[in-house]
């Protein structure tokens, strides 16, 4: 989304965590970081919304956290290494969090990986202009 006009804006299905994303996601990622502490995980699980309200996140960011919508969280400045603190709190694997951003189910994603992963063929450049591809 904010990768427009960057040398990497024509890479499909990819958001590079650069300065623009880091600015947008600063508080979101710091919230995720807080889940590294057991007491914070407990507080978050007890009342997710109340815990989120202690952080200066946008409403959009808060809703995406509540929905575990990783695709949206990435577009709002979340970094995957921070976001997996949420899925770890949920007891989910990294692969579960990661696969949720693809158009595959977890099982199909794992099957793809067992078969050698996603090929770079056809995945190096967006087919259309970047502005049409990026959301």
């Amino acid at each position: 989304m904010n990768n427009n006009n960057k040398p990497y804006s024509n890479i499909p299905g990819t958001t590079v965590f650069d300065g623009d994303m880091a600015r947008m996601g600063f508080h979101l990622n710091q919230f995720c970081m807080s889940l590294m502490q057991a007491s914070n995980r407990t507080a978050f699980k007890h009342d997710e919304r109340a815990y989120l309200d202690q952080w200066p996140l946008t409403e959009e960011q808060k809703n995406a956290v509540l929905a575990r919508d990783f695709t949206t969280l990435i577009s709002l400045g979340g970094n995957i290494y921070y976001l997996v603190k949420i899925s770890s709190t949920d007891g989910l694997s990294v692969a579960a969090a990661v696969s949720s951003m693809t158009n595959l189910s977890l099982e199909d994603y794992l099957e793809m990986m067992r078969n050698g992963g996603r090929s770079p063929e056809g995945n190096r450049y967006v087919e259309h202009a970047p502005s049409e591809e990026k959301t």
């Binding site: 890479i11 290494y81 603190k85 996603r118 770079p120």
Partner: protein, 290 residues
Amino acid sequence: MAKITAGLGTSHIPLLGHIMDKGDSGDDKWAPIFDGFQFTKQWIREQKPDVVILVYNDHATSFDMKFIPTFAIGCGEEYRPADEGYGARPVPVVKGAPQLAWHITESLIQQGFDMTIVNEMDVDHGLTVPLSMVFGEVDEWPCQVIPLAVNTVVYPSPTGARCLALGNAIRAAIDQYPEDINVQVWGTGGMSHQLLGERAGLINKEWDLAFMDDLKSDYDKLAAISQVEYIRESGTEGCEMVMWLIMRGALNHQINEMHRHYHVPVSNTALGHIIYENADLDVDNEEDKA
């Protein structure tokens, strides 16, 4: 005098730690992964390094969004395995090598590297998984460790050329350390993987194998790869490979490849592992240096 005798590259995939910590590393299911480290476990018992300079990246564990160092070097006395959200790994505390680390740090800063000095931090899977894969299950790590954390989380990472040069500078620093110790440099991370977006799960086996081929002698070619090219070819996390270039830069130009292992997949990632020994430790002229 201190000497760098060998270099080692390996992925540092968290799943490998989980498997070992559950005691499942002997399962047939995981044999294609763990068998590739059998040679390594024997080799390290013979090599007996006194100190390993372990190049890795922190995965939003000890560094958060407040401070993001490009190169952070551990000068601390010891480092605890980090709680990454599901309890700390049940592995030994990592003993530092503070005197050597400070020597290297002073030398690097005076050689024009803008190090962040770290005196206290916890270390995550990026550092402890390679130790486990190489040394196995032990009561104490059989060597001291100098953690060298590289930013690969926030764009941009240091360039390959800069990483290669840092390796060179580490060797120059070690060459001036008077104590008679055996030092190894390990580069960790990679190989191809992408953990986000619709393109998640990208693996480029051809790219990975070519990287391992070129690392021996054509490392200058690898050092010219831009982060954008890494991302395009080998996924957003593919740029972790610059950490292998630090290892390579710390070795002589003439090296022997002792071992290689490649496997896809380990969870989301391609696993790569390589071992180099400096070919002739007596030949020590400038041309012989990477």
